[in-house]
């Protein structure tokens, strides 16, 4: 519905669209400009009243005697000198501007409106990331303000090649979002694929980056996440340098990075911040943790139930002796213990952070020792489940950690019913499903399978100066990070 030159018509439409009769947050201020009636609409709380007073109302009321411009563009050229003013041609555009914190001015005789930027949002300060803490890297995390998130990344990558395309998502209740990429480094095909997917989303509203992830993933039914969610600007920036694309959503304190591979989910910023020997060591430990988390409880059940002959005699005797006093079978015990550990983890996440760690420790210790004392579980099983749970928490990606704990339960079930061979079948099926996944069309298990040209940066974290190539996800003609050696002063032959 276009904005007409009649102020009365425009007021009636805006009042109706903003439900002003029942919505007291939507404010209007009538005043006089260019010798004509004018109305200023804004949403209380989304904009600064001080800014409105000093930078909109005061300058405009001084234009009392000037001629009325025919349209907003003429007003911008001749009368209004604010830096950020957006014209609105329709009532819905004007309403969108009001709802995003702008103040919209209608003038009688002007067929259009002017949206002044007076936005002031209530927002959280920059705090350390909650789920991706590091020892050596920076300690800044994103907050819920889209502008702040973009600024944090721009501060790390101060280059005009860093493009931040603003757009909205959600057909009925749109929310602002930003597509960030490094021009020339990001692959054009991937970029167009992302844009096509964003255009193809038909949701009335997108609440969070997690919801956006579900709407964009190649295989939403798969157990593993196929995108990266990160709270860290430095991690987002490092992925931009690799040719990946970062999506930021207003109101979410996380960035969605895609395409991704399984290796991205296993790496942390610490790996590259630390010296390469330490980084490699940490990665190996993490990988062992992952394997322990996935396989250890299942192997324990399978060996004790089906292949006790493979266990050392002393261990087997100890297990059988203590098993005699436990009323449940090993598989049931293991499943119950795993569920209990997950319950403790979940409860510790939900309670306030001050109590959380204490609750986790206390409930783990007390429940565990009480269960052993009451002969409800086997002491060795407690150790196995504790090590497996530790392993799952060592995985840096939160979504992957949850997927791992689900996989752990499946492995226990397979081991309980078919022994080690059931687990072998499960591993084979799991490997095929993992390798068949794609992230925005790129193979999820690459560069391992299928092989792609890559830096020595999988399990082994090679020295930084040997990592001269961007990943296979970047544009083909800009793969080389630097020409020549990175340590030019080092004359040793390598």
């Amino acid at each position: 519905m276009p904005i007409t030159s009649s102020i009365a018509d425009n007021r009636r439409r805006m009042d109706a669209a903003l439900h002003r009769d029942i919505n007291p947050d939507m404010k209007v201020r009538h005043f006089c400009v260019f010798g004509k009636d004018a109305s200023l609409y804004y949403a209380e709380g989304l904009c600064s009243v001080d800014f409105l007073q000093h930078y909109v109302l005061t300058p405009l009321t001084e234009l009392r005697d000037a001629a009325v411009p025919a349209d907003p563009d003429a007003a911008l050229r001749e009368a209004v000198y604010n830096a950020d003013v957006q014209p609105a041609a329709t009532v819905s555009e004007a309403v969108t501007q009001v709802m995003t914190g702008r103040a919209v001015v209608f003038v009688d005789g002007m067929s259009g409106a002017l949206g002044f930027d007076v936005r002031v949002f209530v927002r959280r300060g920059i705090s350390p990331p909650l789920t991706e803490q590091v020892v050596l890297g920076p300690h800044e995390g994103f907050n819920e303000s889209l502008r702040d998130c973009i600024t944090l990344i721009r501060r790390i990558l101060p280059t005009p090649d860093l493009i931040s395309e603003m757009r909205t998502i959600g057909s009925r209740y749109p929310v602002g979002m930003c597509v960030m990429y490094l021009h020339g480094v990001a692959d054009e095909t991937t970029l167009s694929r992302i844009k096509a997917r964003l255009d193809g989303i038909r949701a009335d509203h997108v609440l969070s980056v997690g919801a956006l992830q579900q709407l964009m993933e190649d295989r939403p039914y798969a157990l593993l996440p196929q995108c990266i969610l990160t709270e860290r600007p430095d991690r987002a920036a490092s992925m931009l340098l690799e040719g990946q694309i970062v999506l930021l959503l207003d109101g979410s304190s996380q960035a969605l990075v895609l395409p991704a591979s399984i290796w991205h989910l296993l790496h942390t910023p610490d790996d590259t911040s630390a010296r390469f020997q330490y980084g490699t060591f940490m990665r190996v430990i993490r990988l062992l943790g992952l394997l322990c988390a996935l396989l250890l409880p299942g192997l324990f059940v399978a060996f004790v139930t089906f292949h006790p002959e493979a266990l050392p005699v002393t261990l087997l005797t100890s297990i059988l002796e203590s098993q005699a006093s436990v009323p449940f079978s090993i598989p049931i015990e293991t499943l119950v213990m795993l569920v209990m550990f997950n319950l403790i983890g979940e409860a510790a996440t939900r309670v306030p952070s001050v109590v959380g760690s204490t609750l986790g420790t206390v409930s783990g210790l007390i429940l565990g020792s009480a269960a052993v004392d009451a002969h409800l579980v086997h002491p060795l099983l407690l150790i196995v489940v504790a090590v497996a749970s530790l392993g799952s928490y060592a995985v840096p990606d939160y979504s992957l950690g949850i997927a791992l704990r689900i996989g752990q339960l499946l492995m226990v079930l397979a081991g309980s019913v078919f022994g080690v061979y059931g687990m072998v079948l499960m591993i084979a099926v799991g490997a095929v499903r993992l390798c068949s996944l794609t992230s925005l069309g790129s193979p999820f298990a690459a560069p391992c399978s299928p092989p792609r040209a890559h830096n020595p940066d999988g399990v082994i974290c090679a020295p930084l100066w040997m990592q001269r190539w961007r990943t296979w996800l970047s544009a083909a003609d800009d793969r080389l990070r630097v020409c020549g050696p990175m340590r030019r002063w080092d004359r040793r032959k390598r």
């Binding site: 292949h307 993992l434 390798c435 299928p450």
Partner: protein
């Protein structure tokens, strides 16, 4: 290298891994179940000798490709014998791969039920294995998974070999001719066709160029493993008549328990993946003339193979063992049929 070329090269390598696995598993299965019980200590060199007809057929097929200036076998047969030639080749290769898949599935389920004593009837375990295979039949996923797991499988093999090696005694290697020497000709006859997957590997599009020597390396795993067995076990133990499951378990029978389980896990994993590979490659071969393969076809073929498993396993294995020695014949036959046509065509060109 452009991005597309690099991606294509990556996919080729994963396909090569799939063929290598199929070849290695098929050779090991045939060698352990057909050759080893007949000739015991001579099995390693008999297996090596049995590779020769396969290599010969592969050389013949590659000559045909050279004569017709083509890169793949279907193209070569199309150039030599027209569309009918391509149909014939795809039918022969498809049938061979189906037999391979059926043999693999029979062995896997027999191992599951009799070898390791897992709970469940053959019927339920067939359904379970079939269900797991149905989940694994993904065109790219399967070959990528084989490539992904290759280092794990190689590491397990090396670990088993390293654990068995200290028990090796060189004096058991001789005489080369083996203990059950009278059966060597029979073993040669039984294993004569075991190298047909090698023919597939040598003529596959992945095996071209400088990767050929590395591509055939897994083929020698079976003779090497048999040689190791010869060194650690007396020939009399190797040639005892035994059931199919016992034959498959024989290599790790006298190893420590943990090693036995590792061997079984490796055997089951590789066989599981090899059956999936055989089914997938068979349907691809059968679909080459149509140029597109319906997505449901591999699943339908697999369901067919699983249903066949409801028959008596012993009878089925006897039937498959009878067919086994003749598997190379149709392949060599179509090669000989195409050769004159290719020579004539080359002379005309």
């Amino acid at each position: 290298m452009s991005q597309l070329t690099s991606r294509a090269a990556g996919e080729k390598r994963t396909r090569l891994s799939l063929l290598q696995l199929l070849c290695a598993v098929s050779l090991w299965r045939t060698a352990v179940t057909q050759v080893l019980p007949l000739c015991g200590a001579s099995a390693w060199w008999v297996t090596l000798a049995c590779l020769l007809p396969g290599i010969g057929t592969a050389a013949l097929l590659r000559w045909i490709m050279y004569l017709t200036h083509t890169d793949t076998l279907p193209e070569a047969f199309r150039a030599g014998l027209g569309k009918a030639g391509m149909w014939l080749l795809s039918a022969v290769l498809g049938a061979l791969l189906l037999v391979e898949g059926l043999s693999g599935l029979t062995v896997l389920i027999t191992l599951f039920t009799q070898g390791v004593g897992t709970r469940g009837t053959p019927f339920t375990l067939s359904l379970l294995t079939g269900g797991a295979l149905l989940l694994s039949l993904h065109r790219e996923g399967l070959s990528r998974a084989v490539h992904f797991l290759r280092w794990g499988m190689i590491a397990a093999t090396v670990l088993i070999a390293a654990c068995l090696l200290p028990d090796a005694r060189l004096d058991q290697l001789f005489p080369l001719y083996g203990v059950a020497d009278a059966s060597v000709p029979e073993a040669l006859k039984a294993g004569i066709s075991l190298a047909w997957p090698l023919t597939l590997l040598l003529t596959g599009p992945c095996a071209k160029g400088d990767g050929l020597s590395r591509a055939v390396l897994p083929v020698f795993a079976a003779p090497a493993a048999l040689l190791l067995l010869t060194l650690i076990m007396p020939g009399e133990l190797l040639t005892r008549p035994a059931a199919l499951a016992d034959l498959l378990l024989l290599p790790a029978k006298y190893a420590p328990n943990a090693l036995q389980i590792l061997y079984l896990c490796l055997l089951m994993l590789t066989m599981f993946l090899a059956v999936g590979a055989a089914v997938q490659l068979a349907t691809e071969q059968l679909c080459i003339p149509q140029k597109r393969c319906p997505g449901w076809l591999p699943h339908a073929v697999l369901i067919g193979l699983v249903l066949i498993q409801t028959a008596d396993a012993g009878t089925l294995w006897e039937l498959l063992s009878a067919v086994q020695p003749w598997l190379l014949v149709p392949l060599a036959g179509v090669a000989l049929l195409c050769l004159p046509a290719s020579i004539i065509r080359r002379k005309i060109v």
